[in-house]
Symmetry: C2
Subunit: 518 residues, 2 copies
Amino acid sequence: MPPSVPPSPDPPPEANPAYAVLLARMRDAAVLASAGFALAWDREVAMPPAAAGLRAEQAALLSGRVHALRTASEVGDALAACEADAALMACTDAAANVRNLRRDHDLALRLPGRLVAEVAQAGSLAVHHWRAAREADDADLFTPWLQRNALLAREMADALGCSSAGDPYDALLETHEPGMRAAELDGLFGELRAGLAPLLAAVAEAAPPETGWTDAAWPVEAQAAFGRAVAARMGFDFAAGRLDVSTHPMCVGVGPGDTRLTTRYDPARFLAALHGTMHEAGHGLYEQGLPKAERLGQPLARPASTGIHESQARLWENFVGRGRPFCGWMLDELRRAGAPVPVGLNAETVYRGLNVVRPGPIRVASDEATYNLHVMLRFDLERALIRGDLSIADLSGAWNERMRADLGVEVRGPREGVLQDIHWAMGSFGYFPTYALGNLYAAQLWEALREAVPEVDAQLARGELGGVLAWLRAHVHAHGRRHSPADLCLRATGRPPTPEPLLRYLDSKLRAVYRLDR
Amino acid sequence: MPPSVPPSPDPPPEANPAYAVLLARMRDAAVLASAGFALAWDREVAMPPAAAGLRAEQAALLSGRVHALRTASEVGDALAACEADAALMACTDAAANVRNLRRDHDLALRLPGRLVAEVAQAGSLAVHHWRAAREADDADLFTPWLQRNALLAREMADALGCSSAGDPYDALLETHEPGMRAAELDGLFGELRAGLAPLLAAVAEAAPPETGWTDAAWPVEAQAAFGRAVAARMGFDFAAGRLDVSTHPMCVGVGPGDTRLTTRYDPARFLAALHGTMHEAGHGLYEQGLPKAERLGQPLARPASTGIHESQARLWENFVGRGRPFCGWMLDELRRAGAPVPVGLNAETVYRGLNVVRPGPIRVASDEATYNLHVMLRFDLERALIRGDLSIADLSGAWNERMRADLGVEVRGPREGVLQDIHWAMGSFGYFPTYALGNLYAAQLWEALREAVPEVDAQLARGELGGVLAWLRAHVHAHGRRHSPADLCLRATGRPPTPEPLLRYLDSKLRAVYRLDR
């Protein structure tokens, strides 16, 4: 006889002791991991340089302990007991947790603890040497560390072995974007590239937009206060977070009540830092929106994927922050805060200035259209590195050549080239493509949001950002890892991920900025 | 036949595999513990308030894991194998490590892991509530947390059971000052109190010294730059450390290459922060002088005791920083740095101003003589709490009564009374007496140092602080925990700890400041 009451999303705590054990062990693992996240933040913001060696040892030890908790036979036994309990698996939330933890456990079991610790230690140390090499603008100083990170990543990929296509890169992608494969990205990125080409050609032929003004100097303290005010207005809770300065802007979701953003200020240009802060605050809102306080350690309290995480950052930075309605409010606010904006400047001009297409060497400084080409370049190069089709010795040359071919940009040195990003230094391969995926997701979410909240433009023009946040909370943040990224996208937007919304969005924006229809 | 070559202090690495295992496990424990130290610093300096619960869970989990490493049967077996190896134990350094690790292991085995984690969690959480109670100047808000900390401390004392005299407080003292017992402190403190009484009476009857000026307002940024310069001049290595701001000034020796000081600035009075910074930098120099890079996790790289640690802080703060020669250099430096010191002010006046005896409610703001009475009060009260002779409900009243009786001071509220220190909030009982012990050690070390380095006054008058540091490095820092605190004192000064040097020093200083011999 079927139960008269349908099973709830969450089982009662006493439903299955194995489920309680599973969640308790995962909570321990998450608390231990959160200590590592706090130390990773500290490494970029506060740590004295002489502590690099100790910090790498701490990272190795903590990673090893977290791995041991995740791979414990007690966890395997608990998982099997949960999977065998049909009543438990009929609870949607519990089933989502068990399904995800089974995947994590099986993947973790393929990795020797020694390798996990070594990857953490090598990454922590390499960041230190990356910073020194960047300082000296000398890629050779970083070569041995990059070599080691790439070898370890390949070893990890071989151990995980997720690919049915025989591409070791797929395993690294799986750690960031569950279910995604490199061949699928080839398709998505191919479409995106094909769609961008005529648009970028049209822009290159068009007259430059009348911007008059793009950016100006403003003391760093004033920039920081303004950035903080905008992040707070977006809904970022500073009682449960911070905003600091680091070389490479980042967001670290340490754990419940502790989400930390960093940015960097250029005293000569204040809009760069502002949009960087909005980007990181977008990440931060996702972290703060996950139900960590109640569900720490459960997949339901973890972000769906790196790509979905990036979508949140890019949505706030670009779709909101470089959108026409927000520009009007921002200009008024900047004037109120005493920013040095010219007297005659109007919102339309600010909007155009923020959306000029200007191919350059730096990814994070690039416009919304060419940004995707930066990402594809990195995706192709790191995939070739991992497959063994490209050597570290040839990497810098290959980078510069692709910059020339894809963007028409001459790289003047490794700081502008292969040393510009922290990711490979941290040992993070397979992360880069999620930036372009994030743009895809963001555009698709943005279309759905605008359909569901038709008054959003009017809200943004008044600086009311709560409507955007509420929709994202309900359709993205609240779900954690309940659905796969593709499924989350489908449920939130009615369609699986596709480049069309992004191409539509860019086409419409650049037509307006460059007056292509005149 | 005896070996023809006498055994070296350190055995060769291959001498005994058990010794290698022992040191490797202790290094792991130290690395894990160092993560906890970094998080403790973060809690006071950076952590968002909403993260207090997570931070307490992290502290509990890390403490539990460190405890598990220290109590592992593998460690017990390795210790036994080392102790049975006569050649190894003939190496002085190895023997000191093994002897200390045996003590640590045996003490740790008496504590259930559950209790260790609970103490860490309760302490981390209570600090948060202490801060709120202090803010509200309401001791009742803190009562339940203090109650819990005191009960846990008593439980710990009973489990450790170090006392042959039946005093549970002895066990807590043992965790801070190996070998010290409360009855011995009664003797030392009794002598100290008896010696201070006539001196304080003479000072109370004497005319106030001509100070004219004691302190002034100076912008916090200027104060911080000056304090930083003085710490660097003392020899504090900022490439391996930091100086930040926190409610309760502290020094956290995270690990090799990472020693962090905090201080607090009063914009209205700059000398207070300066001497606070010198105090913490004194702790920091000890941490940086321990051979942690080579010996992390070994007792030889750990401070000898909390009392010896305090002696380093008090020596720099008072014996150097409030001494006549340093005052002259400091006044010139302050003038050079643009500090608002009156034109006619001379070094003698600054010296007198820094050494006025002025009984007040706040320990860290008190003069060198009455400071010891603050410590004895806390020692007596916390000992009574742990023995069960005093209830938390009566604590605040007992505190205020003792302040009246011992110092003639009326406490105006709990912020000035029972809530003024962080120690009980952190669950640290048995720490307070080490402050007065530190004064004793400092005076005794100072006498020996002055005898060994007769030109030290001339050096200090020129702002040359390297002579003091070199002597401390050689006689205190380099030894770590090689000797017991009492033995270290004996070896460095020729005598076991006694209050006489401190009483001689205070007598001589106050005679000069108050012109008692006129």
